[in-house]
Symmetry: C2
Subunit: 263 residues, 2 copies
């Protein structure tokens, strides 16, 4: 008996389908950073109407994977140091909350799944698996933590940066060095251990923060340094300062199974 026997057979619309296809295409490098995603082209290519494409793109915009403007073609985001800084800072805040919350709410099933993912990660690593495969497992691991936390809004916020995290890691294949790969696996194993231990909230919180920080620094090391160690003022154009950016469309709250794939 599963806690959730049936994954609830959700009726997806075309927009979701379009979003998934385009997202995978972006991850696969079909559309490099800065490349335009024209609605008509995608509509023809996918065999659907522009409306569906439009809605799907709006969803991807919500995920921060693409940017658009008034009467301007949407383009794939290009990862600058400022972007990485922004995304990972937000991710750290969310991850910490997710970990601490999961500490109190994780079910035995959640804990088992986390261990299984870490084991699989280690196995794949030993087998010399490619970066996308390891990244997918990495993502699945964190997705599970968010799911265990059981906070819909938190999960939604995570999904708003998740694709960017994946894309950035994929573009800059920072996992290339074996040393770092092993470290990542070790960090995940430690996270799973602390969650199972169920005790030290402070320790877990700190580990979650450090885990993200490790990834952030390893990515920033590969990017042109805009300014000092402490990036201030890297506001830049990417996002709008006023905060009222025109984005996307409605989220669907909960999406349990990771959609990204890219395996």
């Amino acid at each position: 008996m599963d806690d959730e026997p049936l994954p609830k057979a959700v009726r997806r619309g075309l927009a979701d389908e379009v979003a998934d296809r385009v997202r995978d295409a972006v991850f696969a490098g079909r559309f490099p950073p800065g490349a335009p995603l024209r609605e008509v082209e995608l509509a023809e290519s996918l065999g659907v109407s522009r409306g569906a494409v439009r809605e799907g793109l709006a969803r991807l915009q919500r995920e921060g994977l693409i940017r658009t403007g008034w009467h301007r073609p949407t383009t794939v985001v290009a990862a600058t140091a400022a972007d990485v800084e922004e995304v990972y800072r937000v991710r750290a805040a969310l991850d910490r909350l997710a970990a601490v919350t999961a500490l109190r709410r994780a079910t035995p099933r959640d804990l088992d799944e986390l261990d299984r993912l870490v084991d699989e990660m280690a196995a794949e690593l030993a087998a010399g698996a490619g970066v996308p495969r390891l990244l997918a497992l990495d993502m699945a691991f964190h997705d599970r933590i968010y799911r265990a936390a059981g906070n819909g809004r938190l999960t939604a916020a995570w999904q708003a940066v998740r694709s960017q995290v994946f894309l950035f890691q994929l573009q800059r294949v920072s996992l290339a060095r074996g040393q770092y790969r092993a470290l990542v696996v070790a960090e995940h194993r430690e996270l799973a251990r602390l969650l199972r231990a169920g005790g030290d909230e402070h320790h877990l919180d700190r580990l979650a923060a450090e885990h993200v920080d490790t990834a952030r620094r390893s990515l920033l090391a590969l990017l042109p340094d805009p300014d000092g160690t402490d990036p201030a003022g890297t506001d830049t154009a990417g996002t709008d300062p006023d905060g009222t950016d025109p984005d996307g469309t409605g989220p669907d709250g909960t999406d349990p199974e990771g959609t990204t794939a890219a395996g």
Copy 2:
């Protein structure tokens, strides 16, 4: 001599207009919690096509203000204790990051504006202003902090919960008691002071968390105790992981550019 002399004259689409109108209507109580928002009705009422309405509703869904399903009418969210818990926990995580980041990036103009908002808040309070007015100022205050932080993704995440925070506070007019009102103003003044001082990051982080927690508890106190939401959850986490308590969420939110209405 503004830092940004011209507010950039953004070209808004119909979807944004629709979203603003509907949001204001919801805040004004035109659509009570649970009420259906039918696309055709709104289309006729606003004099636009269903497409525009659809896109606008998608935006509101992203803000968590409405919920929808496959071929089911969208409805206004009803604030349960679990919802408040979720929203405020996420908000606390975001607010903490925003405050700490703003500590390093806030410009003198930002600081002046924060002080001005607090003063105005105090003045309105003394003048016996209504709850919506105080809430709007409260929101503007926090919006300014997010803006000062200069992290677009963080701001986007904030906007995904901002409307809910506003709605919850508005529905349960927890600010009714004069005592609490005064406390809120004092907390804001302290936040502004710490930001201007520019020093103690730890202290600021903790204050931001407490500020949100105060609001969270005051709201939960007014809601029926759901049982299941979470055993340890509501009060919870008394321990602070980083020395600062990980959760907690905050109270008000508002929107800067006066869209919210009610005022």
